[in-house]
Every structure is written in structure tokens, then in C-alpha cells.
């Protein structure tokens, strides 16, 4: 593991936009005074004429993006998850979602790993909010390679897309030269019959680590990377749940309304099995380094291992 490269998924967002700029000559990238942090700044430097800074007015940005999309242009609107999904929820719902306009929302700094900024900026609710919007595609990539590929794929989706990225540098485990992003398809990262671990975002790498350690102890886990939370790859989730009969969901998001809830919604109706959810419990975060907070709130391979052992008892 010595030569593992670490990179934040927001960097994949920035790189994906640059790549798209080469192909879509009239695309527009919008931001709300966070271009450096969201990594849209690179696009701004490369294509200054196609970059719009809306200032600190996220609701306005979302409705403007809707107007731009209505004229047939590819448009990305960027901010922190807290403001893109939280503050601007109703603009996303009514200006973008209801008319099903193909605005691509790039939401960075999602989850507890925002770190030192503390609870006001740690958005653990965005997946829950976005899932309720009919026709919204939700993508939560696991590493920077997957993030970049997802951004490029999002350009072709005929409808609104919410893309969730992190601030914190995490291991890059996908190989950019071979990785193919398939929208709505779970990625099987480990095969096992004893338990299913369904993970998303930066928890995917922790899930793989957990599966490796569990294997040494004779516990074989199926590991699914759910980069597309909506539409959920129900087929893959059900197939694995049928095989193992026990499911652990893992996400850097509230246990209310996120991946865990989406998996439970699916399994409760179509394949009822025992499920345990790992996520942010019903509470706010606090300031601290990303690593400290991830450990504190149980976003770790260790906690996955512990939870797996509880469920297979």
C-alpha cells in the first residue's frame, strides 16, 4: 500500500470538466464563489468565457442554470453539498427537477470528512434530499478516477444529475486507463457468500479493506460499490442479498434517507433480509480533522468488520 496515490473526488470533478470542455464547445460551468474549493477553477482558467460565477447566491445559481439548460446548453452548477442540495433544494426541485432540465449539479465537500469547518458545512443529508426528487440521477463516486469518469458520463444523461464529491484526499484504487463508468451499475469488488457489504463514496475503499481482513478470518464478503445511488442497481443488490442473506450498508451520510435507506426500501419489498446501516447517526458533526472525524463516527474498516461480525452472529 506504500505507493497508493491519494486524491479527493472533487479533483476528479475538476478534471472531468476540463475533459468535457474539449468536446462541448458551448458548455457552461457555474459556481457560487467557491471555484478554488470545488475545483471548477481549473475550468475557469482553461475556458474563462464559459465560466459564470454567480457570487454567493446558490438558489439563484440553480434557477439560472435551469434557464441556461432550457436553451440547449450543457451546464454544470457547483457549490458545497450543504448549499447545492440544502439551501437550494427548492430551486433544484422546482426549477430543475420538475421540468426535468439536464442541469448537472457538482456538489463538493459532502459528508463529515469536510473536517475542521464543522457541523454547518458537513452535509450528511444531501443524498436523502436529492433522492426525493423525481427523475434525479444521483452519483457518489468512490475515488477520483471514478469521479472524473462519472462527470464525463453525466454530460450525456438526459435529465438532472446530482454528483457528490468529497474534500478529503482518499486512495485512488481504480485504474484510469481501464476504468469504465457504467451509470446505474453496481461494481462488484469482492466475491463472498457470508455477507454483503454495500458501500458508496469514500467508504468503498474501507469496505474493500474490511473484506480483505474478514477473509483472513474466514468470513467472505460480497462487496458492492454503488456509485449510482439513484437509479439504484436493484438487481445487483437483490442478487447479492439472496446469496448472503445479510447486508451491511456503508456511507458517509446520515443513516436516514441515504444509500442504506435506498437499499432497505428495495430489500424490504423484494428480498427481506437482515440489514445493518453504517452512516452518520441522527446527530450533527463537529470540528476536527477529517481522519479524526471519520474514525470518531465509525467510518472505518474496523467498524465495518465489527458490524459484519454482529450481523453474521
Amino acid at each position: 500500500m506504500a505507493d497508493v496515490i491519494k486524491k479527493a473526488t472533487r479533483d476528479g470533478y475538476g478534471e472531468g470538466l476540463i475533459e468535457l470542455g474539449k468536446k462541448y464547445k458551448d458548455m457552461i460551468v457555474m459556481d457560487a464563489d467557491l471555484a478554488g474549493a470545488t475545483r471548477t477553477g481549473k475550468f475557469k482558467s482553461a475556458y474563462p468565457e464559459q465560466f459564470i460565477d454567480c457570487g454567493i447566491a446558490e438558489g439563484n445559481m440553480m434557477s439560472i442554470a435551469a434557464g441556461i439548460a432550457s436553451t440547449g446548453r450543457l451546464v454544470f452548477a457547483s457549490s458545497f453539498a450543504m448549499f447545492a442540495a440544502g439551501r437550494a433544494f427548492e430551486q433544484v426541485r422546482n426549477s430543475i427537477g420538475y421540468p426535468h432540465l439536464p442541469v448537472k449539479i457538482g456538489a463538493t465537500h459532502a459528508g463529515i470528512s469536510v473536517g475542521e469547518d464543522g457541523a454547518t458545512h458537513q452535509c450528511n443529508e444531501d443524498i436523502a434530499l436529492m433522492r426525493t426528487i423525481p427523475g434525479m440521477t444521483i452519483i457518489n463516486p468512490a475515488d477520483a478516477v471514478e469521479a472524473k469518469a462519472a462527470v464525463i458520463a453525466a454530460a450525456e444523461i438526459d435529465g438532472p444529475v446530482y454528483m457528490r464529491f468529497g474534500r478529503f484526499a482518499v486512495p485512488v484504487f481504480n485504474d484510469e486507463s481501464t476504468y469504465k463508468f457504467e451509470l446505474g451499475k453496481a461494481v462488484k469488488l469482492n466475491d463472498g457468500d457470508d455477507v454483503t457489504i454495500v458501500a458508496t463514496g469514500l467508504m468503498v475503499n474501507e469496505a474493500v479493506k474490511a473484506a480483505e481482513i474478514l477473509k483472513q478470518e474466514g468470513i467472505n464478503a460480497d462487496v458492492l460499490n454503488i456509485h449510482t445511488i439513484k437509479p439504484l442497481d436493484e438487481e445487483a443488490v437483490i442478487a447479492s442479498a439472496q446469496k448472503t442473506g445479510k447486508v451491511v450498508t456503508v456511507e458517509e451520510h446520515s443513516v436516514i434517507g441515504g444509500l442504506g435507506s435506498a437499499v432497505c426500501d428495495c430489500l424490504a419489498e423484494k428480498c427481506p433480509v437482515k440489514v445493518k446501516k453504517i452512516g452518520m447517526n441522527d446527530e450533527y458533526g463537529m470540528s476536527g480533522s477529517a481522519a479524526e472525524l471519520l474514525e470518531h463516527y465509525g467510518f472505518s474498516a474496523d467498524n465495518i468488520i465489527k458490524t459484519v461480525k454482529e450481523i453474521i452472529k
Binding site: 458551448d26 457552461i28 468565457e49 464559459q50 459564470i52 454567480c54 457570487g55 447566491a57 438558489g59 439563484n60 440553480m62 434557477s63 439560472i64 442554470a65 435551469a66 434557464g67 441556461i68 439548460a69 432550457s70 436553451t71 440547449g72 446548453r73 427548492e90 430551486q91 422546482n94 426549477s95 420538475y98 421540468p99 426535468h100
Partner: protein, 280 residues
């Protein structure tokens, strides 16, 4: 404006008002007051000012119209029907289950509707998006939006005003329907947003105050907007809510209530008389 044009527009506006009464009566719901107050400006926009083709509603180079005060949909629908975007029969099923005409404008399904609106404050932002997209593409289409004077209490309106002024969107014209009534009472009693003109001026807009029910003043204002370069234009139209139906005029309770059968008959009788006198 010559007399025959003026008469044509007055006839169109009267027919829009009849459509508003028809639609809200059939729906047993809707917002007649604020729909009647904008019939004149819609008559002007849809008969000469805007470059549109009802046979080709999605033409990329068309002018755009965004009804930011989306609850005045009955007036917009009546104007669109009169222009031939869809049959006037549709007005009779306004707000009915399964019908074309939704309670608020729905761009996905209704021909001629350029943006889905209804949640106040969002339409003007969408109009800004259309305007800046046109400018960036070097297109010369123009974008028109109508706001309510209650609507501009929404903070998003001022975010959009700041954006349009700073970005010098001179292809954007906003009309504020200043009738001084909102659901809870007089705007100046509920939460005054006066002075409206100074606020838009402060955001670098070209501001024109007019009588918003006077077609000649409306025409002059939109002509001045075309002449103005480097700034978006805000036309503040002093209007009478419920205009054209005497018992609805300047009465707050007609904001969101449909006429009953007797009121419908009285309103239609008055509007028909207006129409007959215009058509001579």
C-alpha cells in the same frame, strides 16, 4: 401606437380577461385578480413585441417569456390559446385532473411555456439564465419576464437583479405588476417593498415607471428597453388588480378565489360589453 393597433390589442386583452374568467370559473380555483392585471402587458408582448411563432414554439432563436408570477397562469394560457399554441377549449379544463393546463405553468407539456414557474422568485433567475446563454452564443433573442409586486419580497429576486445588472443583460426585460395587493392584504401593509424603482436602479437596471394597464405607455416602455444598452430594463407597471371586471378591481380577496356562477355571468357580461364596444 395607431388607433387600429391599439384597438386590436385592447380586444386581445379583453379576450385574455374572458379566458381568465372562463378558466378560473371552470377550475373553481385559480388566481383571477393578478391574471386580470397583466392582460394588457401580455396583449402587447404577444402581438408584436416578441419574436415568436406559435407553429414552432421551440425555435432556438425565439424570444423567451417567463411568467415569474406563475400563479397568473390563466392569463398566460388565454394569451397562448388566442395565439394558437393550443385550443381555447383547453381553458375550460384548467387545473382539471389529467388536463393539459396545470395550475402553474409547466414547460414540459404546455406549448409556448418557456419555463415552469409558480414558486415565486425563481422565474426571473431562469430568465437571467436564458438571457446570458443567448448573449454568450451571440444570439439576439430577447427574454421577457413578469413579476408580482408581492413576489419581489422573495430574496432570490434581488439575487437575480444583482446578477442581471452586473452581467449587463440588456436583452432582459422584467415587468413588475405593481397592483399593491397580495394574499394577506395591501403589499404596503403586509411587507412593503417600496421603493421598487430605486432598488432596481441600485442594481444597475434601467427603470421605467408606467401605468401598466395603458397600452401606449406599455409600448413606449418596451421600445425604450430596446434602446437601452448595457443594462437590463425593469418596467414597473402600476396596475389595478382585477382590472376589467369592476367588482374584482382592487379587491384583495380576488387574489386566489374563483368566481361562482353568478359572478361568472356578471364578469362575462361586463367583458362582453367591453368587447362589443371595442369591436363596434
Amino acid at each position: 401606437m395607431d388607433n387600429s393597433t391599439k384597438k386590436e390589442l385592447e380586444i386581445f386583452a379583453t379576450k385574455v380577461r374572458m379566458g381568465v374568467i372562463e378558466g378560473t370559473y371552470c377550475a373553481k380555483a385559480g388566481h383571477p385578480g393578478g391574471s386580470l392585471s397583466i392582460a394588457d402587458v401580455l396583449a402587447y408582448l404577444y402581438n408584436g413585441e416578441m419574436n415568436i411563432d406559435p407553429k414552432n414554439p421551440d425555435c432556438a432563436d425565439r424570444d423567451r417569456f417567463v411568467l415569474s408570477k406563475g400563479h397568473a397562469a390563466p392569463a398566460l394560457y388565454a394569451a397562448l390559446a388566442l395565439k394558437g399554441y393550443f385550443s381555447t377549449d383547453e381553458l375550460k379544463t384548467l387545473r382539471h385532473k389529467g388536463a393539459l393546463l396545470q395550475g402553474h405553468p409547466d414547460m414540459k407539456h404546455i406549448p409556448g411555456v418557456d419555463m415552469s414557474t409558480g414558486s415565486l422568485g425563481q422565474g426571473i433567475s431562469a430568465a437571467c439564465g436564458m438571457a446570458i446563454s443567448g448573449k454568450m452564443a451571440g444570439k439576439d433573442y430577447r427574454v421577457y419576464t413578469i413579476l408580482g409586486d408581492g413576489e419581489i419580497q422573495e430574496g432570490q429576486v434581488w439575487e437575480a437583479a444583482m446578477f442581471a445588472g452586473f452581467k449587463k443583460l440588456d436583452n432582459l426585460v422584467a415587468f413588475v405588476d405593481f397592483n399593491n395587493l397580495q394574499i394577506d392584504g395591501r403589499m404596503t401593509d403586509v411587507m412593503s417593498d417600496l421603493p421598487i424603482d430605486e432598488k432596481f436602479k441600485a442594481f444597475n437596471w434601467n427603470v421605467i415607471n408606467i401605468n401598466g394597464n395603458d397600452l401606449e405607455e406599455i409600448e413606449n416602455a418596451y421600445k425604450m428597453a430596446r434602446e437601452c444598452k448595457g443594462k437590463p430594463t425593469c418596467i414597473i407597471g402600476k396596475t389595478v388588480k382585477g382590472k376589467g371586471v369592476s367588482f374584482m378591481e382592487d379587491v384583495c380577496s380576488w387574489h386566489g378565489v374563483a368566481p361562482n356562477e353568478e359572478q361568472y355571468n356578471d364578469a362575462m357580461k361586463e367583458l362582453k360589453a367591453t368587447l362589443e364596444s371595442l369591436e363596434g
